[in-house]
């Protein structure tokens, strides 16, 4: 079983905000267009994106995304972390791009 805490253990992945450490992650979605994420991401997913702002958390919370991985070295602004804390969504930051992040997380999910 992969938890959001397990995601933070990837090398070079920094946990900017821990929502619910024990939340299980069962799938992954990669995308930067929030409507696309909204319509297609499954509940229980981790979202890989470059959208480092508050609205990403709103979308995550609405569709049941447990964690957001911010790529390309983007960092989460204060209001985003506050929203994430309120909604129990974890934020992870990495220098990896979306492709590398997707590949690594697919590995953790056993999807290779």
């Amino acid at each position: 079983m992969l938890t959001v805490e397990g995601l933070c253990e990837l090398k070079g992945y920094k946990c900017a905000l821990l929502g619910n450490a024990e939340d299980e992650v069962t799938n992954c979605y990669t995308g930067d267009l929030l409507s696309d994420v909204m319509g297609n991401a499954e509940e229980g997913s981790v979202l890989i994106t470059i959208q480092a702002h508050k609205n990403t958390i709103a979308v995550a919370s609405l569709v049941g995304i447990r964690a957001v991985v911010l790529c390309n070295g983007r960092t989460s602004p204060e209001d985003m972390r506050k929203a994430a804390k309120d909604e129990g969504v974890t934020i992870i930051e990495t220098k990896d791009n979306q492709f590398s992040a997707s590949w690594k997380i697919a590995g953790l999910l056993g999807l290779k």
Binding site: S35, M38, G39, Q51, H53, N55, A58, V59, L62, G64
Partner: protein
């Protein structure tokens, strides 16, 4: 504590109630075929074959004397006494149940003893029926069916009572990405609190969020109105213009008028209205220069197969 084979201390109340409420007399077979003690085993064998029985009570009037089972018949054939009368070979040491006992007794008896059936006596020690595992399965299934139907009705009713005639409205401002998502979050929380299935909540959240973001991104501002009734949730999105030039294009996946700034925020994928349409049970849109009105209806009572 008794285990039969469910335990009787922390199983669901509705199940425990059932096994104590159903009496053996409600479940047992009452139309018995019986014979007297002078009937020959051969006759009993033929009777079993004819009526498809595996055990026949031997009686004197209403008084139970014993039972002849298929096993007894096989023994008789094996050892050559099939022409003997029943009283010579019947099982006399019988374990019996009383008709007023709850069915839990019968279940535990079947668990404890190897018999396939138990004779049932009334208070006057008269034979009134026989009970088998099949009788228990049938009566339990029928009663469980009723009990679960009641539970479901009750649950639906509880949900209904909470949401009757609720209306929530939210003002949505132009380009206010700070507050964006507030209306949909409130609607989602309300549905969750009211105990709706996750699939329905997800559909409502998607419809509401997309409509809310459309007002933020594309309009001069407007409002989201969520009307809850026992049957459905109607989400109305009104804005103050400037209106959609070509509604058919706006409903096409991937078509967007959003500028670079909006796109950099993650919006303008051209999936907004198509997403709303796909999660709605009813969908309508009207637009003029004065404003756009989108109405999305999501049925709450029946869980539709619609997947998102």
């Amino acid at each position: 504590m008794q285990t039969i084979p469910i335990n009787t201390y922390n199983s669901p109340a509705v199940v425990l109630e059932l096994i104590y409420q159903i009496k053996i007399k409600d479940a047992m077979t009452k139309n018995l075929i019986t014979v007297d003690e002078n009937t020959s085993l051969r006759q009993i064998q033929n009777l079993m074959k004819e009526k498809l029985l595996t055990g026949i009570p031997i009686v004197n009037g209403k008084h139970l004397l014993g039972i002849i089972s298929v096993d007894d018949i096989i023994q008789a054939l094996d050892f050559g006494y099939i022409e003997d009368i029943a009283s010579k070979h019947m099982t006399k040491n019988l374990i019996v149940l009383e008709d007023d006992m709850p069915i839990s007794f019968a279940i535990s008896y079947f668990d404890r003893f190897k018999f396939h059936r138990f004779p049932v006596l009334n208070k006057n020690k008269e034979l009134v029926g026989m009970i088998t595992n099949r009788d228990i399965t049938n009566s339990l299934l029928m009663e469980l069916n009723k009990a679960v139907a009641n539970l479901e009705k009750e649950q639906a009713f509880n949900v209904d009572k909470k949401i009757i005639n609720q209306v929530q409205s939210f003002t949505v401002k132009k380009h206010d990405f700070e507050e964006a998502g507030y209306a949909s979050t409130q609607v989602k929380k309300f549905l969750k609190k009211s105990g709706f299935p996750a699939k329905i909540i997800r559909r409502a959240a998607i419809a509401c969020y997309e409509l809310e973001m459309n007002i933020v991104v594309h309009s001069e501002g407007g409002e989201i109105i969520a009307e809850f009734s026992p049957e459905e949730l109607v989400i109305t999105a009104n804005d103050c213009g400037p209106g959609i030039k070509d509604i058919n294009l706006a409903l096409q996946k991937g078509w967007s008028t959003a500028d670079e700034w909006i796109r950099s925020l993650g919006f303008g994928a051209g999936m907004g209205l198509p997403n709303v349409q796909s999660v709605s049970d009813d969908f309508s849109i009207t637009s003029s220069r004065e404003g756009t009105c989108v109405i999305s209806t999501i049925k709450l009572t029946k869980q539709l197969d619609k997947e998102v």
